[in-house]
């Protein structure tokens, strides 16, 4: 019985945080609600810099949520929402900055590094293959000399 009550409380508590957002920001369709949540997760709070505006309790995050909600409700596209907030707070508020000249290096560095790594690997492999096998073997003359040296250096008892 006790377990049952405990379970009931757990179940009752679980979705409350999920429901909270939809209660405060009623949207008509499930699609809109999902889009709204996605936007909140992708917008960064300028005050608490390592939180998105869905998680942040800062008043400014509240204002940004309200504005995002208003725009989504009025049918704005995701791009329009981003643009409106970037115009006010700067590129900083977007977790995924747009690809342009300033962010080109930011986006391409991982690709460049992987390419350099690939080139190094390919170079090493090719060089190892091209290495003449001959150096590992001896000519007959050398072999004879080596034999001699070994015998001299290690005389039989």
């Amino acid at each position: 019985m006790r377990n049952l009550i405990f379970l009931f409380i757990l179940v009752a508590l679980l979705p409350s945080s999920l429901l909270a957002a939809t209660e405060v920001y009623p949207l008509a369709t499930a699609e809109e609600r999902e889009r709204f949540q996605g936007l909140l997760a992708e917008l960064r709070c300028p005050k608490c810099q390592n939180q998105n505006i869905a998680d942040s309790d800062a008043p400014i995050a509240q204002d940004m949520r309200d504005e995002t909600y208003r725009m989504v409700r009025d049918g704005a596209s995701n791009e329009e929402v981003f643009e409106a907030l970037i115009a006010r707070f700067g590129e900083f508020v977007r977790y995924k900055p747009q690809f342009d000249r300033r962010t080109a290096l930011l986006w391409t560095t991982p690709i460049i590094v992987v390419l350099i790594g690939l080139l190094v690997v390919i170079g090493t492999v090719v060089r190892a293959k091209r290495q003449p096998q001959a150096t590992a073997t001896l000519t007959d003359e050398e072999r004879q000399r080596a034999q001699q040296i070994l015998e001299d250096g290690n005389p039989k008892p």
Binding site: P46, Q49, D63, E67, R88, G90, E91
Partner: protein, 178 residues
């Protein structure tokens, strides 16, 4: 040639070190305003001191002003208030106040108690204009030139040092141009 290649890791490490070193001491919470070089967003607010009087972005026209965002709920605003009063009285700086997310009676009490450094104070109880300006934490102080263009933003308390090193050069520069 082979020998030279061996130095590549050293060069990479030194470069990375320099990049990281350049970041030390920078305050990541100081963001450049997205509005630098752009006009102050259009607004219509009432005068804090005269509820019947409507004000808009024309209040910035004609001379360089500081726009100071404050509220009675903001302790750091109290810290900088004395300096603002000094700037207005001794340095002759025109300061426009933006009373942000506040209550009129509290704000009036504050000004009569601590002195009023503002040539005019905009009353923005909903924080709408603050939002359009990209205010993310009071106090914030902007330099607005005589054409109503945002030239500089300082987030945080204005001290004499902040004035001398950050704000005054910008203010003087645009005063000379205007």
């Amino acid at each position: 040639m082979k020998r030279l290649l061996l130095f590549i890791p050293v060069i990479l490490a030194v470069t990375l070190g320099m990049v990281l070193f350049a970041g030390i001491g920078k305050d990541p919470s100081h963001l450049e305003s997205a509005l630098i070089g752009k006009p102050v967003p259009a607004f219509e607010l009432t005068n804090l001191l005269a509820p019947g009087e409507q004000l808009d972005e024309q209040v910035f026209k004609g001379q360089v002003s500081l726009l100071n965002v404050w509220g009675t709920w903001c302790p750091a605003c109290r810290d900088e208030h004395g300096e603002l009063v000094r700037l207005a009285r001794s340095e002759g700086v025109r300061i426009v106040g933006l009373n942000y997310k506040d209550q009129r009676d509290l704000a009036l009490q504050w000004l009569s108690g601590l002195g009023n450094p503002y040539a005019v104070t905009l009353y923005d109880p909903a924080g709408r204009v603050g939002f359009d300006l990209g205010v993310y934490g009071a106090p914030e102080t902007y330099v607005i030139d005589g054409d109503g263009i945002v030239r500089f933003r300082h987030v945080g308390v204005v001290t004499e040092q902040v004035w001398r090193e950050l704000l005054e050069p910008v203010v003087r520069q645009y005063q000379e141009q205007g």
